[in-house]
Symmetry: C2
Subunit: 613 residues, 2 copies
C-alpha cells in the first residue's frame, strides 16, 4: 500500500504519529523557504508542510497542481487551524516524499465553480469527475442504490439478472439492435426494460424480484434523455395495487432516511389521473405548493358548486364565451403585482412554447375591491363570484387562461409551475411524494384508428373493467365516436410515483390471463400471428399457471438527480452521452472496419458515405 | 395481498390460526371423499386438506398440477407428520378456495429428476425455473452477489455504473456492435469488460470501485461459454500486488462464510506460473490433491537432485532418449492396478483429445520390487531411482508420458486430473483456493512476428521489469531467436485466483505511465495513430496525474457454478443462451424488418438470403 492513512481521517488525536499519505496536489503555496501543499484524495484534504530542509529537493522536482504525490511525515498540530476541514487541526511535517506521477495543466480548474464549459468537461470527463460536486453526486447515487437494495432484500426480493441480448419487438420506442455474426441476417435487441422477463420470473414462482439494471431506447434525444439509462426494476406475485403502493412507499421512505437523513413521515397522497389533470393540468403534479387549477367552465371541476359555464359565459366577452375551456389559478398575496409585471406575464404566456393568446387577471385588493383586465365585461359582483370560485381571498391575484382544452390545460400547468418558481415555492430541499392512479388504459390513435397502450401492453385494467374489455370488440367502427366506445372508459390498474413534479417511478398490476392478453394485443392492432411471433413465449407461459402479479420500475438516474437537488440526470451519471447520443470522451459511436461488417453479414447503406477504413 | 402467509412458514405454533395461502399445486391425492393438495411457492410446501364438504365443489372445478390456488382454512396438527418438510407438522383444513389460474399439463415434470431433456427445458425455461434445484442455484447466485457487495462496501468500494454503448476497439475477442441510427454508418460496441472505464475512475480519484456487471464477447461458443456473462469487477488505487491479493482473499473467504457457512481458514497458496506449469501441467491447477508432475528430463524440476537427462537418457529406450520431455506422476496406493486397467489407461492417453503415443508405468510393489513396462531397457536400480525421483513409495504406481513438451505437459495434466477424478480426490464439496502469479507479460505471435498481451494491454510488468520494457525495442529482428529477446522474459504484475482447478478471477497491477502504455501498444504492433484512435482518451488521462492502481475481475457465473458444485454455468443463469448463442425460448436473434434496417442505414449481406418480412 502506498499510504498508511487516507487524506480524510487524521485529526488531533493522531499528533506525533508518523504517517504516509498519497493523493493529488490541490494547491501549492510557498512562503519563503517553507511550502504548504494541500493533498487531496476521495476522502478529504490534508495539509502537508515541507520545511526548509526539503527546499532544495522541491526546487529540483517542482510539484504542480494534480501531481500524484506520496509523502511521509509526522502529524503535527496546526497553529492556524482550519475549521472547514475535518483534518483542519493538523498538518503533516513531511520528512520524505515521492512524486508518483506528474500532471500537465488541466484544461479547466478542478473546483465546484470550474471555468470549464460543458463540452470541455465532457471530453475530459475523467477530470470533471474529480470535482467535488460530481463526486458527491456519484456518492449519492451509490447510497440510493444501496438503500434500495437493502430495503428490497429485507423484504424478500431477489436480484435476478435478465438477459441483454434479446428479441426485437418494436412498438413504442425503437430498439437498439445487435447483428448476430453466428446467425447471419438476424439481430438481437437490447432490452427497453426487463418487463417480460420479470413477468416470466413471477410465472416461475420467484415471488419477489428486483434488479438495478441498464435499459436502452433508441429515441430522438431530448435534453436530459440518455440512450442508456438505469432502472430499479421490481415485481411481486399475489399482490393487488395497494400492496405495491405500500411496499414502495416503504422503499422510498427508507431511501430518504438512509440517503438524506430525512424522516418522511407524511402520508403520501393518492390522486386519480383525472384529478391530477384537472387540478394541476398534468399527470405529474408538483404538490409542494397549492394553486390548484379551477375550471371555470366545465363540470369536471367537482368541487365547484356552479354548473357548467354559468360563471363566465354570456358576458359578451368573446374570448371566454367561445373558448372550449377557461382555467384559473390563484396566486396568494400577489394582488400587488404591478401592471408591468402583469404585462410581462402576459408576454410569457404568449411565447410560442406556451402559445396562449393572452392572460386575464383579477386583482383581489386588500380593501376587498376587485380590479380586472376584463372589467368592462363583468360586473364587480360577477368578478367577485369568479374570484371566489377560484379560491381567491383578499390580497390574491387570479390568473385566467382560455382556449382549446388541451393547450389551455398545459399552459395553465406551465403558468402554475412558473409562478411557483417565481414565488420560491419549489424548494429543491423540500420533497413531496404523490401517487397518481387510475390512468386510462388506452389512448386513441387517430392515424391507425385503433387503441394504443398508455402504459404498456401488459398492464391490466382495473378489476371492475376486465369484463368490459373481454366482452367488447376493440374495433372502432365510427372513428368520430371513439370516445363513446366502451374501451375509452377503461381505467388501468396502474400507478405513477411523482416526486416534486417528476415521475420517478411507474408500474401496474399485470395481465396474467392468456385471453385478456390476447384481447389486449388485438386492441393494439396486432394479428394473432404477429402476437405469437413477438410474444408467443409469454402467451405460452400464461397457460401454465401464471399467478396474479404486478410491479414497478423507478427511473434511477432521475430519482438520484431529484434527491441531489438537480434538474440534470447527466450530472448523476459517471460517463453520460451528449444530446446526439455521442460519448465525446471516447469518440463513440465510430466507424468499424470492413472485416467486422463482412463478418456480421451487413453492409452500410449511407447516402453521404462515411469514410470507412 | 392474496395470502396471509407463505407456504414455507407455518408450524405447530400456528395451530388454530385461520390463514390464507396462495401457490402452485404440486400434487393432488384423493382418498375417497377427502383430497390432499400440496401447495408450493418459493418458500416451501404446505399440505391442504379438503374435507367431504368441499367434494362437490372440487368435482365441479377439478384442480390439476401447476394450477394457481388460493385457499383459506384453519391450521391443524397432522396425525401423520412429515419430518422432511419444515411445515410437515401441520396441514390446512380448507374452508374455502379460489382457482386463481389453471394450467395445461407441463411438457415435463417440475421435479429435481425431471423427465425433460435439455432442449425442451430451455424452450420452456419459465417452467424449468420452477424446479427446486434451479431455484436453489439462483438463490445461491443472489447470495454470492450480496456477500460480495457487502464485503466490498465495508471496505470502502463504491458501485459506479459504466456505459454499455461504447467504442469498438477490436483486439483479442470480437466486439458485439450496435448500429447508431442518429450517426449513420457508425457503431457502438458492447463492452467486453469495463477495463478502461474503471482505470479512468482511478485517474478520477474514486480510489475503490466495484460493479457486478454484464460483459459481452462475440466468440465462437464452446460448451459452457455465453455471449453475455457477468463479472464482479473491482479496481483500487495506491496498491501493490500484495494489497490486492489480501483484499480479495478476504472477499472470497467472506463469500464462503456467508454462502456456504464454511470458514475457509487455510492460507491460500501463492504459486508462480512457471511452477504451476511444471508441477501441474497447466496454469489453473486443481490443488485439492497432490500427484505433482516430475520432469524426468529437464532441469526445470528444481526439486530434483539429478541433472538434466541423466536419469532416463541413454538407456537405449528411444521413446525416452529422443523425447523433448518426459513427465511422470505418481498415483498413491495404485500398484495393484491390473494389466487390464493399465491397458485401458494407455488407450485413454492415446485418444485424439489427449494424443499421446503410449504410457509407461512403474509399479512399486508392496514388497519393494518394481515392475515396469520398460523392464528390458532399465535395470531395477535405475527404475528404483526413477521411481524415487517421481516421489513413489511402496504400493504406488508411476505413470510416465514422453513427447513434445507442450503436448506432453497438457496430456500429463489431463491424466493427473483423470486419475484424481477416478480416485475420488476431486470432491465438489471440498474447496481449495490458489493464486497463480508471475505470468509472462507477452506471448509471441509467429503469424505477425510480434508480441501479444497475455492478459490485456493495460497490465504492468513486475516492477523490476519496467526498465527492461522501456529500454528495449520491442521489434523482433530474428524470429527464430524470439526467446532470447529481452521482452520474452518480462513477467506480468498479474494474478489469477484458481478454485478447484478453475480460474475464477484474474487481474493485474495496471500501467499508469503514458510512456510505458505507449511502449506496450507499440509492442503489440499498434501504430501511434492507431493507439491514439482507439485509446487516446486513456493515454490522455495518464497525462493528468494517474495514480498507481490495479484490480481484479471475477467470472461471476463460473464462481457460482463451482460454489454450487456444478460444472455448468448455464444452470446458474436465469435465461441462458444455447451453444449457438440462441435464446430458444424467445427465438432470438431473429430477423428485423426493412424499416428498421433502413433507419439504421444498413443492409443485409447474406449469401443464402434469410427471409426478411
Amino acid at each position: 500500500m502506498y499510504r498508511s492513512h487516507t487524506c480524510g481521517e487524521l485529526g488531533i488525536t493522531d499528533v506525533n504519529k508518523t504517517v504516509t499519505l498519497a493523493g493529488w496536489v490541490q494547491t501549492v503555496r510557498k512562503f519563503g523557504s517553507i511550502t504548504f501543499i494541500d493533498l487531496r484524495d476521495r476522502y478529504g484534504i490534508t495539509q502537508l508542510l515541507f520545511g526548509e530542509n526539503l527546499n532544495a529537493l522541491l526546487n529540483e522536482n517542482p510539484i504542480g497542481r494534480e501531481f500524484v504525490l506520496q509523502a511521509t511525515g509526522k502529524v503535527s498540530e496546526r497553529s492556524n487551524k482550519n475549521p472547514n476541514l475535518t483534518t483542519g487541526d493538523i498538518e503533516i511535517k513531511v520528512s520524505s516524499f515521492n512524486i508518483l506521477n506528474t500532471s500537465i495543466t488541466p484544461p479547466f480548474t478542478i473546483q465546484d465553480d470550474t471555468d470549464g464549459g460543458d463540452d470541455l468537461r465532457m471530453k475530459y470527463r475523467y477530470l470533471d469527475l474529480r470535482r467535488n460536486m460530481v463526486k458527491k453526486n456519484l456518492e449519492l447515487r451509490y447510497a440510493v442504490n444501496r438503500a434500495a437494495r437493502n430495503y428490497l432484500h429485507s423484504h424478500g426480493f431477489m436480484d435476478i439478472e435478465t438477459p441483454f441480448l434479446i428479441k426485437s419487438t418494436p412498438e413504442g420506442a425503437r430498439d437498439f439492435v445487435v447483428p448476430s455474426r453466428m446467425n447471419p441476417g438476424q439481430f438481437y435487441a437490447l432490452p427497453q426494460s426487463p418487463q417480460t422477463f420479470k413477468q416470466l420470473l413471477m410465472v416461475s414462482g420467484y415471488d419477489r424480484y428486483y434488479q438495478v439494471v441498464k435499459c436502452f431506447r433508441d429515441e430522438d434525444l431530448r435534453a436530459d434523455r440518455q440512450p442508456e439509462f438505469t432502472q430499479i426494476d421490481c415485481e411481486m406475485s399475489f399482490v393487488e395495487q395497494d400492496d405495491i403502493l405500500n411496499m414502495f412507499e416503504g422503499m422510498i421512505k427508507h431511501i430518504f432516511k438512509e440517503v438524506k437523513g430525512f424522516d418522511y413521515r407524511a402520508t403520501i397522497e393518492r390522486m386519480t389521473w383525472e384529478d391530477a389533470m384537472w387540478q394541476y393540468g398534468n399527470d405529474k403534479p408538483d404538490t409542494r405548493f397549492g394553486m390548484k387549477i379551477t375550471n371555470l367552465k366545465s363540470i369536471f371541476n367537482r368541487e365547484s358548486k356552479f354548473v357548467k359555464g354559468e360563471l363566465i359565459n354570456n358576458a359578451g366577452f368573446g374570448v371566454f364565451d367561445n373558448a372550449e375551456t377557461v382555467l384559473a389559478i390563484t396566486i396568494p398575496n400577489a394582488a400587488g403585482y404591478t401592471r408591468k409585471q402583469l404585462d410581462e406575464l402576459t408576454e410569457w404566456v404568449k411565447r410560442p412554447q406556451i402559445g396562449m393568446q393572452g392572460l386575464v387577471y383579477i386583482r383581489h385588493n386588500p380593501d376587498g375591491t376587485l380590479k380586472s383586465s376584463v372589467d368592462k365585461f363583468y360586473s364587480e359582483e360577477r368578478l367577485q363570484t369568479i374570484a371566489q370560485a377560484a379560491g381567491a381571498a383578499k390580497n390574491d391575484l387570479v390568473l385566467i387562461l382560455a382556449g382549446k382544452e388541451e393547450r389551455t390545460r398545459k399552459a395553465t400547468s406551465e403558468l402554475r409551475l412558473e409562478m411557483g418558481e417565481r414565488l420560491g415555492l419549489r424548494n429543491k430541499d423540500e420533497f413531496k411524494l404523490l401517487w397518481v392512479l387510475d390512468f386510462p388504459l388506452f389512448e386513441y390513435s387517430e392515424e391507425d384508428n385503433r387503441w394504443v397502450a398508455r402504459h404498456h401492453p401488459f398492464t391490466a385494467p382495473k378489476p371492475d373493467h376486465i369484463d368490459i374489455m373481454i366482452q367488447n370488440d376493440p374495433a372502432i367502427p365510427d372513428p368520430a365516436a371513439y370516445l363513446s366506445h366502451p374501451y375509452a372508459g377503461i381505467k388501468a390498474n396502474a400507478y405513477d410515483m411523482v416526486l416534486n413534479g417528476n415521475e420517478v417511478g411507474g408500474g401496474s398490476i399485470r395481465i396474467f390471463r392468456r385471453d385478456l392478453q390476447e384481447k389486449m394485443f388485438k386492441a393494439l392492432g396486432m394479428s394473432t400471428e404477429e402476437a405469437m411471433h413477438k410474444f408467443g413465449f409469454l402467451l405460452g407461459a400464461f397457460e401454465f399457471g401464471a399467478p396474479p402479479h404486478g410491479g414497478i420500475a423507478y427511473g434511477f438516474d432521475r430519482l438520484c438527480a431529484i434527491l441531489g437537488g438537480s434538474e440534470s440526470i447527466r450530472d448523476f451519471i459517471a460517463f453520460p452521452k451528449n444530446n446526439s447520443g455521442r460519448d465525446v470522451m471516447l469518440d463513440a459511436p465510430s466507424t468499424i472496419d470492413n472485416v467486422q461488417l463482412k463478418e456480421l453479414s451487413i453492409r452500410l447503406d449511407v447516402q453521404a458515405p462515411t469514410s470507412n477504413p
